[in-house]
Structures are given as C-alpha cells and as structure tokens.
Subunit: 114 residues, 2 copies
C-alpha cells in the first residue's frame, strides 16, 4: 500500500470511527429531522452534559455535523446527509446476520436443499 493511499484510508477510517459509537450514531439519526441544540440531546439521553458535548465535538471534527451558535444555544445539524443512507446498509448487515443466526439455531423456516 502506498503511503498516500495509507493516509486516505486513515482519513476514511477516522470518519467511520466517529460514527462507530451508539450515542453518536443515535445523535446523527436524530439530526435527520433537523438541527438540535446540545440541551435537547442531553435531555433525551441519560448522560452528563460534558459527555454529550464531547460526542458532538467528535462528530464535528469528523466533518459529519456542523454547529451554529445562536444566542445562548449551540445548534448542531447534519452536514453530509448521505450518512443516513449508509446507516441503512448497516441495518442490512444486521438483518443478514440475524437471518443466518436463526437458521443456525434451527428456528427458521428456511427451505431445505432437499
């Protein structure tokens, strides 16, 4: 792998890493319906204010969300909406896995090859 390519893969992995956390993923999906302030997130999940803020910072650094300070509040919004599409793909991975797991445990009604 060339050094240049390596950098590219590191950059892409960093974006994915930002999304690879339950809370952050939840935040991103939540932003589908429009911008939210930090306090809204803090209210909805049971976590310290600082924790929420740090998660949002991670998403911001990754370039996934953007912030906008208006008055007392800071509003976060999705910067690259296509991330939502690909979360659907992740769900496809999960359902493929679930189906397989069912067939392994013999709980499925899978068709037998004779």
């Amino acid at each position: 792998m060339k050094a240049e390519d390596k950098k590219f893969f590191e950059a892409k992995a960093a974006v994915l890493k930002a999304l690879a956390h339950p809370t952050r993923l939840w935040m991103v999906e939540h932003l589908e319906s429009g911008e939210k302030c930090v306090c809204e997130f803090a209210e909805l999940i049971d976590a310290d204010f600082s924790t929420v803020s740090k998660h949002l910072t991670v998403l911001k650094q990754a370039g996934i969300v953007q912030d906008d300070k208006r008055g007392k509040q800071v509003y976060y919004s999705l910067k690259v909406p296509c991330v939502l599409n690909f979360i659907h793909c992740v769900e496809a991975v999960l359902s493929a896995r679930a189906k397989e797991h069912l067939s392994m445990t013999g709980l499925s009604d899978r068709p037998q090859n004779k």
Copy 2:
C-alpha cells in the same frame, strides 16, 4: 432512549466499528474485486500474519465478510456489498471537509459573496 433501541444502536455501532480501521477498510474495498485469501492480504500490507487474520475475524464477526476454507487456503469475500456504496459517502465527507479547509486557509478559488 428505550432499552430496545439502545441495543439496536449498539449493534449498528458495532458494525461501523468493525469498518473503522484503516486496514480493515482497505481489506473491504479490496474485496470489491472478488474473494481473496489471507495470504494475499498479508502480502499486500506490511503486517504480521496474525494481525491480518485478526482483522478478518473482526469483519467476519460483524457480518461484513464471510470465509470459505478450500484446500490449504481460507478465502474471504464480501457478504454485504452495500458497504462499498457507503464508503463513497465517507469520501464525500472528506471532500466536503477538504474544500472547507482550503477556504479557511485562503488557498481556494471559492466565489466570494460579493
């Protein structure tokens, strides 16, 4: 957030986490052109055989790839090809970020709002 939802987000985050590593991302993209054996990966990147094997195990556990042992070799292939689409979205995040960075450093030829 409901406990059931929480589980769901944890599961999705786990899939993303599996992809969130430069080497594993590289492997997944490399599998676009068809199945590869462990030795091919080990040869292409400069890493221990065991390291390669462990990365592939992570991808397998996540349900992203599948393995097939034939003769001496184990062949890995993509199980859910849609992951490739969403890597393109990650690249969109990167290019959005790059563009912005250019404009911040004044190196761009961005159109000025007057």
